[in-house]
């Protein structure tokens, strides 16, 4: 089956006073129909820029989508006119954001904001739109939906706001929901509520979800497939089982390994002080986007870095069906050798 969205060689940059930041650099992945794709990476890795590029919601300037293709059905979203992309936003592709506290307009009621979306994309009269809005609020588990319609967002807790955001996003039955760190700002018990809700809705509605987060455990729970980004580049993608059980990129490995687990095997912890299990870690820190190291951006922190890593970005290697990695370690020995010591080949 053809995927719902195909992102090909997407490049997005920010032009700042101090120079150009390549926020998204040659990123390609697909989102299948009904699939939940987890996009994971640390802050500044470009995951949000990817999501905003899809609906062209990045402020221009300073952002510029420099190239690539985002195929959505028969259309390339990047080639659509302003009017055409607007008709897709909120309708076929909807978004929810990280900060439920600031994502709702404080001066309009929840009802106003819900009905606005509904009336924009569906030819419903006020009455029908209201009914639909209330239905959506009930769907996302907001009690007293009727009364809530007239409330302003500030009266809501974070969890409730995120529910309202989800109701708004789903009100036009989108084919794709882009969820950008939807639970990061929430407490863990509330996060559990929201994740539960999203699971439920997904099963009921059957839309695709692009789930963006920095939290690997959330990804492990939510996603069917995972895309890992580092410094604007896609470094690895695989189905969720493969990625967690046999990650191949050193960065993915480091990321997964360095998190203490809630199910940490206590027996592994020595009882004596000074002999505790040290957590594996990635040294150094994320490079400054304005002064990106040459070659593979991860090479200054990589324990397996080779000279070639400092000069050339590795190509994408398909290890097996659906598992890609961009790392010289996984490039065929031939090409490594070629890049490493070209003169040896004779």
């Amino acid at each position: 089956m053809e995927p719902l969205v195909e992102i090909r060689n997407l490049r997005t940059s920010f032009r700042t006073e101090d120079g150009t930041v390549r926020a998204v650099d040659d990123v390609s992945f697909d989102i299948g129909r009904g699939e939940v794709v987890g996009l994971v990476g640390e802050s500044g890795c470009g995951k949000t820029a990817v999501s905003l590029s899809i609906l062209q919601l990045l402020p221009t300037p300073p952002a510029v989508i420099e190239g690539g293709e985002i195929r959505f059905g028969s259309r390339d979203l990047l080639k659509l006119s302003g009017e055409e992309i607007r008709r897709i936003r909120g309708n076929e592709i909807a978004m929810i954001f990280q900060e439920p506290m600031t994502s709702l307009n404080p001066v309009y009621t929840i009802g106003d904001q819900l009905m606005e979306t509904i009336q924009l994309h569906q030819r419903l009269d006020t009455h029908a739109a209201r009914a639909r809005a209330i239905e959506m609020l009930k769907l996302v588990g907001i009690p007293r939906a009727d009364e809530v319609m007239g409330e302003y967002p500030h009266r809501f807790s974070g969890g409730m706001r995120q529910r309202a955001m989800i109701a708004m996003a789903l009100s036009c039955d989108p084919k794709l929901l882009i969820a950008d760190e939807p639970t990061t700002a929430l407490d863990v018990t509330i996060q559990a509520q929201i994740l539960e809700l999203m699971h439920e809705l997904r099963e009921r509605i059957g839309m695709s979800i692009l789930f963006i987060t920095h939290d690997l455990s959330v990804i492990a729970e939510m996603a069917d497939r995972v895309v890992v980004m580092y410094s604007g580049k896609l470094v690895e993608q695989a189905d969720v089982q493969t990625l967690f059980l046999s990650p191949e990129h050193p960065y993915t490995k480091g990321l997964i390994g360095s998190r203490p687990s809630i199910d940490e095997d206590d027996s592994a912890v020595p009882a004596e002080p000074g002999l505790r299990r040290r957590l594996p870690f990635i040294r150094g820190s994320v490079p400054n986007p304005l002064h990106m190291p040459g070659g593979c951006p991860f090479h200054p922190r990589c324990d397996y870095a080779m000279p070639v890593c400092g000069t050339e970005m590795p190509p994408r290697t398909e290890l097996r069906e659906g598992h890609d990695v961009r790392c010289w370690l996984h490039e065929s020995p031939d090409s490594v050798a070629r890049a490493d010591e070209p003169e040896v080949r004779s």
Partner: protein
């Protein structure tokens, strides 16, 4: 293999002082450069007024009154035959002095009030805030008028009056900054480390309020110059024959139809100087604000 290891150097290793950073942003802002240039010109002309002035700013020459601009008198002469340009050079001095000294007065009184009020909070803060509310309830120029009425007219009193009128502005500004900086963990850290309140206010908090104070001061110099000119215009400011711009303008008002250069040029001079400070203020605010700097 390890030669590519750059260790934990995430951020660019540039040893730039904050001041230089701000300046770099400032000079990149075209408007601010224009402002700096204007202020620079006025400062140079004011400091070297005796050098630039072609005539004695106080020497009357009744035979040569109200002359339009000419080669001898580039901006013409006033009602007593004094050279307008020379008077304006000296007037620039007065305006700059008023601006700077009144701001110093405002800062010296307002900043400690705001800092103490914001830092200690509680009853003291409530009382101080009410008092500042009352002071702010009066528009600055009115406050300045009232103060001048109490103190009497004259350049020194104008400085005091405009200074006092700016006190509540600083007090409120600094209080606000202190309230937010107080919440920063490094203040808690300083307290945890056993630093005293006075030390925390002056060493930890106030240096970090500097940016808004500097920005406000730039604007406040402009405002004080305007207030002072307004007072001069109402006859409550500098007195004859002091060549204060507002006073020159006020005197020239009687000759607006016969010798409009007496009102046009001092007005333009005030406008330019105020504009200069405002431009630099805008530039500084942008340069000091991390939000716009990114």
């Amino acid at each position: 293999m390890r030669n590519v290891d750059l260790t934990a150097e995430g951020m660019p290793r540039k040893k730039t002082s904050e001041l230089r950073e701000v300046f770099r942003h400032l000079v990149r802002n075209r408007a601010a450069v224009v402002g700096l240039t204007i202020i620079g010109l006025f400062v140079v002309v004011s400091v070297f007024a005796p050098v630039f002035a072609t005539h004695d700013p106080l020497a009357a020459n009744l035979g040569n009154r109200l002359q339009p601009p000419s080669r001898e008198h580039l901006l013409g002469t006033d009602e007593l035959g004094r050279d307008l340009l020379s008077r304006m050079f000296y007037g620039g001095r007065i305006s700059l002095n008023i601006g700077i000294i009144s701001v110093l007065i405002g800062v010296l009184i307002g900043v400690p009030i705001g800092a103490v009020s914001g830092y200690f909070g509680g009853k003291l803060d409530i009382i101080t805030q009410r008092f500042i509310d009352i002071m702010i309830a009066f528009p600055g120029i009115l406050l300045a008028i009232v103060v001048v009425t109490v103190l009497g007219v004259g350049v020194e009193n104008v400085m005091i009056a405009t200074g006092i009128a700016s006190v509540p502005i600083y007090a409120r500004l600094v209080r606000g900054s202190v309230l937010s900086i107080k919440e920063q963990s490094y203040v808690a850290a300083a307290r945890a480390a056993g630093l005293g309140d006075v030390r925390i206010i002056f060493r930890q908090i106030l240096p970090n309020c500097l940016a808004p104070i500097i920005v406000q001061s730039t604007f406040q110099i402009a405002t004080s110059i305007l207030w002072a000119a307004g007072l001069g215009f109402l006859g409550l400011g500098a007195q004859a024959p002091t060549p204060e711009w507002g006073a020159i303008l006020s005197n020239g008002r009687a000759y607006i139809r016969t010798a409009h250069h007496l009102t046009t040029y001092p007005g333009l001079a005030i406008l330019l100087m105020v504009l200069g400070f405002n431009l630099v203020g805008d530039g500084l605010r942008d340069a000091l604000d991390p939000k716009t700097r990114s």
